[in-house]
């Protein structure tokens, strides 16, 4: 473990990481966020999803350092008496899970379809690209509304799991298009390259060429796009929650927290608004900065 880390730090990418203060800061912030989210049940002072522990009387307490604050709730409480700090951790857990899952899903779908379209071309390409056009016409919000509708009609009793499914599905359904387009573009270039033809001359089967030769070489931009997309997906999730198709209200995601906070903008209970927003910005910023750094680090000409 330590030695792999050491080896990584010694590689070219590792080196550029070590020498970039921005990357290190971003990585530290991202790590803290991910850690707190992943280990929320152990790290968080309260479990805001355990409804039986919520005390309505504790609602809207300000952060601990202000006059009415209580150290029990370091960042104050929201309108249901949830500890904001804990809610943030649990919420980030959902948001990050939704963000990562939807990005993974759209990467899988997008990359596969993009590869197929680019590699085989012809009617498959034309069909897939028109499909992209169709998908482009549906804003993520609408797709979410519609999928939520379908999902609820099909599984009237699967509430929470369904909500996540809806979020992930609708974000990835609109997200795969850009991966498909990017990958298709690079594949068109890549499949003309001689190393692909060399593999064909060797007698490697097309699907295998696609997987082993083309894929690693078109993945660079995809990886960078994906890191940016994680942040965007969290925001999309926030936006969807704003429109009421997000996570169930009893287990609020970061997005839902922001939406709730949105109602408190003018009320003077600023902590309900500010903290979720700050966390979202921190996550998005750190992931984006890491993506920026990675793009530069993976580009041998910039090294």
């Amino acid at each position: 473990m330590i030695s792999t880390l050491k080896r990584w730090l010694d590689s070219d990418v590792g080196y550029s990481f070590r020498t970039s203060p921005t990357a290190i800061t971003a990585a530290v912030i991202a790590f803290i966020c991910v850690f707190c989210a992943a280990f929320a049940p152990w790290v968080a002072p309260h479990n805001p999803f355990d409804l039986a522990t919520l005390e309505l009387g504790n609602a809207r307490l300000p952060p601990a350092w202000s006059a009415d604050g209580r150290w029990e709730f370091p960042l104050g409480t929201d309108d249901q008496g949830r500890d904001i700090l804990s809610a943030l951790m649990y919420g980030a857990r959902i948001s990050l899970a939704v963000g990562v899952a939807s990005v993974v899903l759209s990467v899988l779908v997008g990359v596969t379809l993009g590869l197929l379209a680019g590699f085989f071309g012809g009617w498959l390409d034309a069909f897939l690209m028109r499909l992209c056009d169709v998908m482009l016409s549906f804003p993520a919000i609408l797709v979410a509304l519609l999928i939520a509708g379908v999902g609820r009609a099909l599984f009237p009793n699967a509430h929470e799991t369904l909500a996540f499914g809806v979020l992930i599905l609708s974000i990835s359904l609109t997200g795969w298009v850009q991966y498909a387009r990017t990958v298709r573009g690079s594949t068109l270039v890549e499949r003309q390259k001689e190393y692909v033809q060399a593999a064909r001359v060797i007698g490697v089967a097309p699907l295998r060429i696609m997987r082993k030769h083309v894929l690693p070489n078109v993945l660079g931009p995809v990886l960078v796009l994906a890191t940016i997309q994680v942040a965007t997906a969290i925001i999309t999730e926030a936006t969807l929650s704003f429109l009421g198709v997000g996570a169930p209200p009893t287990s609020p995601s970061l997005g839902t927290l922001i939406r709730i906070g949105n109602d408190y903008l003018f009320s003077g209970e600023w902590w309900i608004t500010i903290f979720p927003g700050v966390v979202l910005v921190l996550i998005a910023l750190s992931v984006n900065l890491l993506g920026d750094w990675l793009r530069d680090a993976l580009n041998p000409r910039l090294r």
Binding site: V201, I202, H213
Partner: protein, 348 residues
């Protein structure tokens, strides 16, 4: 000369009857027309580009055929046709008595692919930049299931690298960590991994300086001597061609215009284009002497000149050259497609 011929004569018994490689009337046309709707609306005809047009040649086992010609005359297309990257529009390519293109499509095609390999023009581009050399060289071994045991594969890769003058220690490096010449050698090692019998080399040394070029050419010659390899060798550099080949084919605008023994071709070129080409070679030891470049403009392959495609640039062209396309004919063991030669207007 006798040294060169020796390995061929050893294998001559096995293939005395048929040459290993036979290209018959190979043709490849590219459809570069505008999309259908455009053609209909703008009343344009279909646009066909005859990249290779009726090329025939044979190579005996253990021999080298060199292809020369201007940029864009179709040399690479011929190479790609032979290894099955393109299917021929017309014509046939027979390898060891077997129709190769029919075979490529079937399961036995794998077997054939093992026997025919190619070295690409650009050594860097033909190596997957994300693979280690060990994997690159081992790919054909794995793909054809020649070896399965990882240790055996490793040994064989080391052996191959050594045979092209690299160290087995280089296995763990990536292509970009090598110099141009070394990369070229890696792609040769890969091409040799399956013990091919026929190697198609597309400008394998164009990017190299003379010292590295010499190293690469020497390796190729050594291999030919040791393993009886057959080469199709494509190059711009006539000095190199002269060094490596047994036979030389001169191409012009998709067609073979002259095909002859190396010494015959260089000593007594017949086709006017061949002559011009030879005149254009810079001479090393007469410093400061001007040479005569080939006159005139390169014709547009989409709209080739009528008759003999070379006639607009040919000093010997007459009306017949403009109207009638010359066919390949054999004169004194040399195959030439030229009316002037046929009519004896050009002396030897």
């Amino acid at each position: 000369m006798s040294l060169v011929m020796e390995p061929m004569s050893t294998s001559a018994a096995s293939s005395a009857t048929a040459p290993l490689v036979q290209a018959h009337d190979l043709t490849r046309t590219f459809d570069v027309s505008a999309p259908w709707l455009n053609r209909v609306l703008e009343r344009k005809p279909r646009q066909l580009l005859h990249a290779v047009d009726g090329v025939s040649f044979e190579i005996q086992r253990g021999q080298t055929l060199a292809l020369v010609g201007e940029s864009g005359c179709g040399k690479s297309t011929v190479a790609r046709l032979l290894v099955g990257l393109y299917a021929p529009t017309r014509g046939r390519f027979t390898f060891d008595g077997q129709d190769a293109h029919a075979a490529y499509a079937t399961a036995e095609g794998r077997q054939l692919r093992r026997r025919i390999q190619m070295i690409f023009q650009d050594p860097y581009a033909s190596l997957n930049p994300r693979w280690r050399v060990a994997d690159i060289v081992a790919e054909p071994l794995r793909e054809h299931g020649l070896l399965r045991d990882p240790q055996a594969i490793k040994d064989r890769v080391g052996e191959l690298l050594q045979s092209v003058g690299l160290s087995p220690l280089d296995m763990v490096k990536y292509p970009h960590q090598f110099s141009g010449g070394q990369r070229q050698r890696i792609s040769i090692a890969r091409a040799l991994a399956t013990h091919p019998e026929f190697l198609v080399c597309d400008e394998p040394t164009s990017a190299l300086d003379v010292s590295v070029q010499a190293q690469v050419l020497n390796i190729m010659k050594d291999l030919q001597r040791q393993q009886g390899l057959t080469y199709l060798f494509i190059s711009h550099n006539l000095a190199v061609v002269r060094h490596v080949s047994d036979q030389v084919g001169v191409m012009y605008l998709g067609r073979l215009v002259e095909l002859a023994d190396k010494s015959t071709l260089f000593n007594t070129p017949r086709h006017p284009y061949t002559r011009m080409l030879l005149d254009a070679i810079p001479k090393m030891h007469d410093t400061g002497r001007a040479r005569t470049p080939v006159q005139g403009e390169v014709p547009n392959p989409l709209n080739p000149p009528s008759g003999c495609a070379f006639h607009p640039r040919c000093p010997h062209a007459n009306a017949r050259c403009k109207a009638e396309r010359p066919a390949m004919q054999t004169f004194h063991g040399v195959r030439v497609a030229c009316h002037a030669v046929e009519e004896g207007r050009i002396g030897v």
